[in-house]
């Protein structure tokens, strides 16, 4: 009943090809957007900001980026942490060189710089596939982190090797730095995620997205119908890195404020969790990127609440349990639902279509 599509007729190809062809989805999405833009900013406090919403938005951005590359174009990448570090350091350097530049432009420029780095590290993808490519991207992860550690120019020769964000404003309100109010940082991230999320969805449902999926599913056949493999793979690397770079930029400028590269962009801190997000969320699904990000951000908080506050375990034991549960969930998902939460949702939708009168 809830997802009944009966009576919803499409008379043009444009409407049939819209992002939300079902009216129910459209309404739900609009309500979600209204709440996110008009309700949440009035109630957000710094706990919700720093612990839940900002990490969720930033990881969503990174997950969209990785999903474009791995989920849609089929090129496995373990270099997410490295590319996020590029975004963060690009932001830092641009801030130093152009103190007057608007923060929105800085963030987008950081994405563009990361895109070029992504193209560079995407070059091996023409020759190698699968696991071997994953190892090649692993090289980018370690090389980039090493580079940012080794060359002091990147962290402006500071003694600690840390990079620290300076305050930048949008419309007179600080969005970076220690004094930024929660609603401002939240809205800043939200606008970027929504706008770029739509952009990603649009690319996926038009020519470039179909080229990516063609390369993913059968590269020989793709070549035969005229998809240039090199150009298509590199475009996926570039656009994916653009998103990941922006995620890195926000991670540094808006979320952490100050960071040290080895610890913040470590493979265990970023690359694997983001890969888990798109696997748990759903490879090749926009919704999956968001669901996966929400899952990975919320799970530790939920587990901590249950184990420490409810059961009364010590924080250390709880942490150990958390890692165990994580690994267990990973295995369970890979075996039982390789298409992730997005697939579970589409199954649920199918059930809701007939509910409460299944036949």
């Amino acid at each position: 009943m809830i997802y009944k599509e009966t009576g919803q007729f499409k008379s043009t190809y444009e409407s049939d090809h819209s992002i939300f062809p079902l009216i129910q989805d459209k309404i739900a999405f609009n309500i979600l957007m209204l709440v996110a833009f008009l309700v949440v900013p009035f109630f957000i406090d710094s706990y919700w900001e720093k612990a839940i919403l900002i990490p969720f938005l930033i990881y969503s951005m990174a997950a969209i980026g990785l999903n474009i590359l791995t989920g849609y174009c089929g090129q496995v990448s373990l270099g997410t942490g490295g590319f996020m570090a590029v975004g963060a350091f690009a932001t830092y350097k641009i801030m130093t060189f152009f103190p007057e530049l608007n923060i929105m432009i800085i963030v987008l420029l950081s994405g563009v710089i990361t895109a070029f780095v992504g193209i560079l590290f995407g070059l091996p993808s023409l020759r190698i596939k699968g696991f071997y490519l994953a190892v090649a991207t692993l090289a980018s992860q370690f090389f980039i982190i090493w580079l940012f550690n080794k060359v002091p120019w990147f962290y402006n020769y500071s003694d600690t090797g840390q990079i620290t964000v300076s305050e930048r404003t949008m419309f007179g309100v600080a969005v970076t730095g220690a004094n930024a109010p929660p609603y401002a940082t939240y809205l800043f991230c939200l606008i970027l995620v929504v706008v770029l999320g739509f952009a990603a969805k649009n690319m996926i449902r038009s020519k470039i997205g179909r080229s990516w999926m063609a390369i993913r599913d059968m590269d020989i056949a793709a070549e035969i119908i005229g998809v240039p493999p090199l150009k298509t793979k590199l475009s996926a690397f570039a656009i994916s890195s653009f998103y990941i770079g922006i995620a890195g930029s926000l991670y540094f400028a808006v979320y952490l404020g100050a960071l040290e590269v080895t610890e913040s962009f470590d493979i265990m801190a970023i690359s694997f969790p983001v890969l888990f997000m798109i696997i748990i969320g759903g490879l090749g699904s926009m919704l999956g990127s968001f669901l996966g990000a929400a899952f990975i951000v919320l799970l530790p908080i939920f587990l901590k609440n249950v184990m420490v506050d409810l059961i009364g375990l010590s924080a250390v034991t709880a942490k150990h349990f958390e890692i165990t549960i994580w690994g267990l969930l990973m295995v369970v998902f890979l075996i039982l639902e390789p298409h992730g939460l997005a697939r579970l949702w589409s199954i649920a939708k199918e059930k809701l279509r007939k509910w409460p009168f299944p036949y």
């Binding site: 190809y13 649009n202 059968m218 005229g226």
Partner: protein, 266 residues
């Protein structure tokens, strides 16, 4: 060589001339000194026993293999080698012996990939998805819907092709090739593994495509009754060499062909 050049050739004139093509993989000679011509607008069949080099011939024609020696003359222009992308751009589409569809995508999306070369908007416009991009998508969707109507694929428009039965997958693959609006269609065993009804359907689709869209068709097929029925001319390969060429009626009487298929009494 370009699409316009192929289009400018009158029907009944040679569009592909294969001249003394040889292809070797190391010591294995897949093709030896093969020459034949394909005329525009005809249904041309390549037949031969297993391992005769039929698929290799198709792969040479659309640039997947580079011939060791010999020339291919395409619409009046000589070329020694070509990459698949250029073949697609100059109006050559093909299907594969083992289905090569995009399994994770729906039938509709698979067919839409056939239109990729004809879509001109760049990725920034696609990201914004307004006016021209939307119009372009709708235009190509309309073209694809015609192919869907033609091949009776309406019911499986949204189904991921990986879950379709074999016969339908073959049909979707033909659809993807037709969506490219090719001048020349290379079909590698389009009816392999099908039952009689499916073969009849497929034959009908191939003939209609040839008749209505004026597509030149080069096909490989093992079912002799089908080949003799639908093709205008046939070339026969055996062990990489051409052993016969001509109309079906001539091929049926060709001594060398009969010997290749049935063996020679000592």
């Amino acid at each position: 060589m370009s699409l316009a050049k192929i289009q400018s050739i009158p029907y009944g004139k040679e569009v592909i001339k294969i001249k003394n093509i040889s292809l070797a993989f190391g010591g294995v000679k897949a093709l030896t000194d093969v020459s034949f011509e394909v005329k525009k607008g005809e249904v041309f069949a390549i037949i031969g026993p297993n391992g005769a080099g039929k698929s290799s011939m198709l792969n040479v024609i659309n640039g997947f293999y580079k011939p060791t020696s010999g020339q291919i003359n395409f619409a009046g222009e000589d070329r020694k080698e070509m990459i698949p992308e250029f073949a697609a751009k100059s109006g050559i589409a093909r299907t594969f012996q083992n289905i090569a569809l995009f399994k994770g995508m729906s039938t509709l999306d698979n067919l839409m990939t056939g239109r990729l070369l004809k879509q001109k908007q760049n990725f920034l416009m696609q990201a914004l998805y307004f006016g021209p991009v939307q119009k372009e998508e709708a235009y190509h969707r309309d073209k694809v819907e015609r192919v869907i109507d033609f091949l009776d694929l309406q019911a499986i428009r949204r189904t991921p092709v990986g879950s379709l039965p074999y016969g339908l997958q073959k049909r979707v693959e033909l659809g993807r090739a037709l969506a490219m609006e090719p001048e020349i269609l290379l079909l590698d065993e389009p009816m392999a593994g099908m039952n009689v009804e499916e073969k009849q359907d497929m034959s009908r689709f191939v003939l209609t495509a040839n008749d209505e869209f004026k597509t030149t068709i080069v096909l490989i097929e093992h079912d002799m009754s089908v080949v003799m029925d639908i093709s205008d001319r046939i070339v026969v390969l055996d062990y990489g060499k051409k052993i016969g060429e001509g109309k079906p009626s001539e091929i049926l009487k060709n001594k060398a062909v009969i010997d290749a298929y049935l063996g020679v009494a000592d």
